[in-house]
C-alpha cells in the first residue's frame, strides 16, 4: 500500500491534488483513498491531505499517521511546520520550489527529494491569479516523474476529467512539470 501526504495552504488546492492523484491511480486499476486532514483551516493556514493506493480493496479507514511519501505545494511551509512528522524511511518528497533538492537542507533520513517550480509553471499557464497561482496540477507531474508510481498520461487524463476550469492548461502544466523535475 502506498501512503502519501500532501501539504499546502488553505485555498491552494492541496485536497483537490490528492483527489486527482488518486483518480490517476484508479485509472491504472488501483484501489485508492484520498482525504483531507479533517480540520477547519482557513485561507492561509496550513492544510494537509492524504492518499492511499493499493492493489486490493482498502478496508482500513483511519487516518495516515506514517506516510511514506510527501508532496509539498508551498515552500514557505518548510519553515512553518514540521512536514516530516511521522514520515517513513525510503520514500519520495516532491516539493514545489525553484531550488534544487540539494539546496533545501531538509532534515530527512532516507527519503529521495525532488523539486519542481510548480509556481513558475502555474504562472506561465495562468492558473489562478498571479497573487495566488494554483499549483496543484503542476506538482502532480513532478510526482509522476520523481516516483514513477503513476504514468504522466494517467495524471493528464485525471486532470482533464476532474478540473473544471482550464483543464487543458492544467494538463500542460503537469506535463511541463514532469519534464522539469529535479532529483
Amino acid at each position: 500500500m502506498l501512503e502519501i501526504r500532501v501539504h499546502g495552504r488553505g485555498g491552494q488546492g492541496g485536497v483537490i491534488a490528492s483527489k486527482i492523484l488518486a483518480y490517476a491511480f484508479a485509472m491504472e486499476g488501483k484501489y485508492v483513498q484520498a482525504f483531507p486532514e479533517f480540520g477547519v483551516e482557513r485561507r492561509g493556514a496550513p492544510v494537509t491531505a492524504f492518499i492511499r493506493v493499493s492493489e486490493g480493496k482498502i478496508n482500513i479507514r483511519s487516518k495516515i499517521y506514517e506516510p511514506q511519501h510527501l508532496i509539498v505545494l508551498e515552500p514557505t511551509l518548510l519553515g512553518a511546520i514540521d512536514i516530516t512528522e511521522g514520515l517513513k524511511d525510503g520514500g519520495f518528497i516532491v516539493i514545489n520550489t525553484k531550488k534544487r533538492p540539494d539546496e533545501l537542507n531538509l532534515k530527512v533520513k532516507n527519503s529521495k527529494i525532488a523539486t519542481v517550480d510548480a509556481t513558475g509553471i502555474a504562472l506561465k499557464y495562468r492558473l489562478g491569479s498571479s497573487a495566488s497561482p494554483i499549483v496543484n496540477t503542476a506538482i502532480l507531474g513532478g510526482f509522476a516523474k520523481a516516483t514513477g508510481f503513476v504514468k504522466i498520461e494517467s495524471i493528464v487524463e485525471a486532470i482533464k476529467k476532474e478540473v473544471p476550469i482550464k483543464p487543458e492548461e492544467n494538463a500542460q502544466a503537469a506535463i511541463e512539470a514532469y519534464n522539469s523535475t529535479l532529483m
Binding site: K19, A22, V32, F35, V40, K63
Partner: protein, 386 residues
C-alpha cells in the same frame, strides 16, 4: 455498463440521488455534508438532474419540504448531519407517522456543545426511536448503492417509511475512493418511478393525519411496527434483485469470518471496515475471531444478530456513541436482542472514537485484548484519557 469514478462519500450520496431520479431536493448546508448539496444544486442548475431544488432556510424546513413533496407523490431527497438532524427531530417523527418514503443522507458528526464537526454516531443513533429505517454504510460504493436500495425499500407499499443512510464524517464523507456508478438505464430497471398508494390528489381528495383519538391511534402505531417487521423481507428482496442486476451483495448485516468464530466483534459503519484488518491479523495469529457489521440498525436485525452470535463465546460491541446515563447504544440493543436466547455469549461493550477520535487497527486490537482478560460492565471506555 457502469462508470468508475473516484468520489467522496458525499458525492456518492449525490450521485445516488441522481441515479434514483429524485424529483425534489430540499436541503440545508452543514459541515460535513455540504458537498452533497453543492453537487446536487449544480446538477439541478445544469439540468443533469430534473428536480426541484428548494434552498430552504433550515434543516427543519428541509425535512418539512421533503414531507410535503413526498406527500404530493414525488420522490424526495435530503441530507444533513448532527445539529441539522437534531433540528429536524420533530419532522423525523412526522415523516414516519405520515408514512412517507423519503430518503435522507446523514453524515455522522458528534453533537455540540462544545462545537465539533467530527465523526460520532450519537446524532443518528439517538434518532433510533423515531421510526426511520437506518443504514450504516462502510464504503462509498455502499453509500451510492444504498440510495437506490433505500428508495426501493421505502416505497414498497408494505413499508412506506423513510430511510436514513448514514455515513461517518470525513472517514467516508470526505474520503474519495473508487465507486462504480450504475448506468441510468439499468438503474431504471431496478428502481421504478414512485407510484404511491396514497397521495394528495385533487381527483381523490382526502385529509391526512387528522386528530386521532385513543380509539385508533394505537393501531396506527401497530401498523408502523408491522411495516418495520415486514421491511426485513422487502430489504432482502431488494438486496437480492440488486445483486442479480449489479453484482454487488448486501445484507441486513455483513459477516466476516463469523462461522467458526468464538469471539465476534459487532460494529457499524467505517469502524467495521477497519476491523476487517484486525480480524485478518488475529486470524493469522490463529485466533478464531469474526466480525458482525450491522448494516441496517432499524429495523433491528434480530434474527441475523441472534443467528450469527449465538454460537460464539464472547461478543464485543464497539460503540462510537454514548447514551449518557446508560451507555453504548449498540451494546444495549445487542444485549437486549440476545436476552431471551437459550444460550448466550458474554457480551462486552466499549465506547471508542467519540468526537472524531480515530478508531485505528490498534484501537480494535485493544478491544479484543481487554475482552480476553476482563468482565463485561455497563460502560467501558477505550482510549479515553483518564
Amino acid at each position: 455498463m457502469s462508470e468508475q469514478k473516484v468520489i467522496m462519500g458525499n458525492h456518492a450520496l449525490s450521485y445516488g440521488a441522481v441515479t434514483s431520479r429524485v424529483q425534489v431536493v430540499a436541503a440545508y448546508p452543514i459541515t460535513p455534508q455540504t458537498q452533497v448539496v453543492e453537487l446536487l444544486s449544480e446538477m439541478c442548475a445544469d439540468g443533469t438532474l430534473d428536480a426541484e431544488f428548494i434552498k430552504v432556510e433550515s434543516e427543519h424546513s428541509a425535512m418539512a419540504a421533503s414531507i410535503g413533496a413526498s406527500a404530493a407523490g414525488a420522490r424526495a431527497f435530503t441530507a444533513t448531519s448532527s445539529q441539522g438532524l437534531a433540528l429536524m427531530h420533530e419532522m423525523l417523527h412526522w415523516a414516519v407517522g405520515a408514512r412517507l418514503p423519503i430518503v435522507m443522507g446523514n453524515i455522522n458528526r458528534s453533537m455540540a456543545p462544545p462545537w465539533t464537526i467530527w465523526s460520532e454516531q450519537t446524532d443518528s443513533l439517538s434518532q433510533r426511536d423515531t421510526g426511520w429505517l437506518q443504514i450504516y454504510a462502510s464504503s462509498n460504493q455502499e453509500v451510492y448503492d444504498s440510495v437506490l436500495i433505500a428508495y426501493k425499500v421505502a416505497e414498497n407499499k408494505k413499508v412506506s417509511l423513510p430511510v436514513m443512510i448514514v455515513l461517518d464524517a470525513f472517514f467516508l464523507s470526505h474520503t474519495s475512493e473508487n465507486v462504480n456508478l450504475i448506468d441510468q438505464k439499468d438503474a431504471d430497471r431496478y428502481l421504478k418511478p414512485y407510484n404511491p398508494e396514497f397521495k394528495l390528489d385533487i381527483k381523490n381528495p382526502h385529509t391526512f393525519g387528522g386528530l386521532t383519538t385513543a380509539d385508533w391511534y394505537m393501531e396506527l402505531r401497530y401498523k408502523i411496527q408491522k411495516a418495520m417487521e415486514d421491511s426485513i423481507d422487502v430489504i432482502k428482496e431488494a438486496h437480492k434483485e440488486f445483486k442479480d442486476l449489479f453484482g454487488r451483495e448486501y445484507g441486513l448485516v455483513e459477516t466476516y469470518k463469523c462461522e467458526d468464530a468464538d469471539t465476534i466483534l459487532v460494529a457499524i459503519a467505517t469502524a467495521a471496515s477497519t476491523a476487517k484488518e484486525v480480524i485478518d491479523e488475529l486470524r493469522k495469529e490463529g485466533k478464531k475471531v469474526g466480525l458482525l457489521r450491522i448494516r441496517f440498525f432499524r429495523p433491528f436485525p434480530f434474527d441475523d444478530v441472534k443467528k450469527n452470535l449465538k454460537n460464539s463465546k464472547k461478543v464485543i460491541v464497539l460503540d462510537r456513541n454514548l447514551s449518557p446515563g446508560n451507555g453504548g447504544i449498540v451494546y444495549q440493543e445487542v444485549k437486549s436482542a440476545l436476552y431471551n436466547e437459550p444460550v448466550k455469549p458474554k457480551v462486552y461493550g466499549y465506547i471508542a472514537g467519540l468526537g472524531g477520535r480515530d478508531i485505528t487497527v490498534d484501537t480494535i486490537k485493544k478491544l479484543f485484548e481487554d475482552a480476553q482478560k476482563s468482565e463485561p460492565a455497563e460502560v467501558k471506555w477505550m482510549e479515553v484519557k483518564i
